[in-house]
Symmetry: C2
Subunit: 294 residues, 2 copies
């Protein structure tokens, strides 16, 4: 018998991941605050629940994919959270990008309840999620990590184990998003200098990404930056600004000076302040051009 799964949070990432769990044959109950987002999954065979507690009542595994720490804590341990309705022994696979300490705090709440938390953050945009090709990080109690593997396999092309500290995979996810930010700022600075020196911006991008930077991350973000066209929206600036703030806070707490991280966070803050919500977060690259008078 496949584990019964509840999936809470059906944004562009969560909906794609839930659909792949359904395709893989897991009995699925879904919940989203805005109920209409659950409709396509209902048509594919999912049960739609009216509350988080109702969604998890029968579940062996609860996936959450939410915007931020606050939303995750509310839906788990808040007044209308699901934890009290969860079966002892069940696993919470927490996929949101949150502070490692949030993950650890929730892990303690689960331990007190007799359930398990496994941090299960994912790398990849919505199109990658839809293709079931995410990269998954996994950390938490060993037995729970093991039991979660078939479900993780249904959403991703590979799972990397970060050990027993539930916060570890959250750290890894933050570091990964930070590195994507360095790709964007780096490409933006390089293409802007090249352009102001008379080189063709797109031609130089094509040269770089067919030689030493011939890899999807540089090709994908680089194309948006080279063409200055930040569509489609993989993730909006406000969401990743939150992630970069978590990086900077984690660096502060752990006493790690990270000059690149500070720059990226401020670029995203400027982008949010300028009020362009319907663009991919790579649009902070425009700040580099603007600073250079382009």
């Amino acid at each position: 018998m496949a584990d019964k799964i509840a999936f809470l949070g059906l944004g562009s990432m969560g909906a794609a991941m839930a659909a792949n769990l359904l395709k893989a044959g897991f009995p699925l109950t879904v919940y989203n605050r805005t109920a209409e987002k659950a409709e396509p999954l209902r048509q594919q065979g999912a049960t739609v629940a009216a509350t988080p507690a109702e969604a998890v009542r029968e579940a062996d595994i609860v996936f959450t994919m939410l915007t931020d720490d606050k939303a995750l804590e509310e839906i788990t341990t808040g007044p209308d959270g699901f934890l009290n309705a969860l079966k002892p022994g069940a696993i919470h696979a927490s996929c949101s990008t949150v502070a490692p300490d949030t993950t650890r705090r929730l892990a303690e709440a689960h331990a007190a309840h007799g359930s398990f938390l496994v941090a299960s953050p994912v790398f990849g945009k919505p199109d990658v999620a839809a293709a079931g090709k995410l990269w998954v990080g996994s950390s938490g109690p060993a037995e729970a990590r093991e039991r979660l593997k078939p479900a993780q396999e249904a959403i991703g092309q590979g799972t990397h184990d970060f050990g027993d500290d539930p916060g570890a995979a959250s750290v890894a996810k933050l570091c990964g998003n930070f590195l994507l930010g360095t790709v964007i700022e780096g490409m933006a600075e390089a293409l802007t200098l090249a352009e102001k020196c008379g080189l063709d911006r797109v031609g130089f991008y094509e040269m770089l990404t067919s030689t030493i930077f011939n890899t999807p991350v540089y090709k994908g973000y680089g194309k948006l930056i080279a063409e200055q066209h930040y569509q489609p929206v993989g993730a909006p600036p406000a969401i990743i600004r939150k992630d970069m703030n978590l990086v900077v806070q984690e660096a502060y707490k752990n006493e790690v000076p990270m000059p690149f991280a500070n720059i990226i966070r401020d670029r995203l803050t400027a982008t949010v302040a300028l009020g362009e919500p319907d663009v991919d977060w790579a649009s902070f690259a425009k700040r580099v051009s603007e600073d250079a008078g382009l």
Copy 2:
């Protein structure tokens, strides 16, 4: 009849490139200030010249691969430079990483002499040069670029055309080295934060470079940074510090704020000041660990 080639500057990059020109069947004369570095090439069939002028007298193409702008200008237009001995119509393939304006100034000197300058900078470490797998940039007069292609094919796996402005390929090379610097600083900050949060530095490097950063640049530099072992030396800190200073100066001249470039230049300045010459330039990643008390 293959073009006769002179190669001036037999450091670890130049010697490997010269050997590949010889293997490809080009008659080759070489010159190096320290004559013993020419010995292995003599044994492979090259003629060794005592001066730059003697080296280029019969040449259709002159390659130069020198440390910096000053060395390149001295060997070309200095009192003992080769330009006056060069045949009219010959091509100078300038492979050094130098300021775009240095390249343009030399191009004018060649035009006055009746010869041609083609900027021909290369991407790749000495082992890549030895394998004939460099990526080559090319800019300068169209006819000369065309004539140079067979020789560029002998040293590289591909040549990218940057058009008529001889400085353009120098710009591209500086931007490329800058991007490599962003990879190093980015990986150093990410791995340092991960380490201080309790993750295994090497394990996290392996996860990153087998998933979203699965590409030679991240694998190669990342390994040095993950293991904190900066051997073998692809290029020493002082040489790339010079390159990053050229990036920052070019950015200043062209009015492009480049916060990442400033940080990388200062990391290399600290590394040179600390006096560790026999390490790869990626060793500036140690500054990130040291700043975090590791």
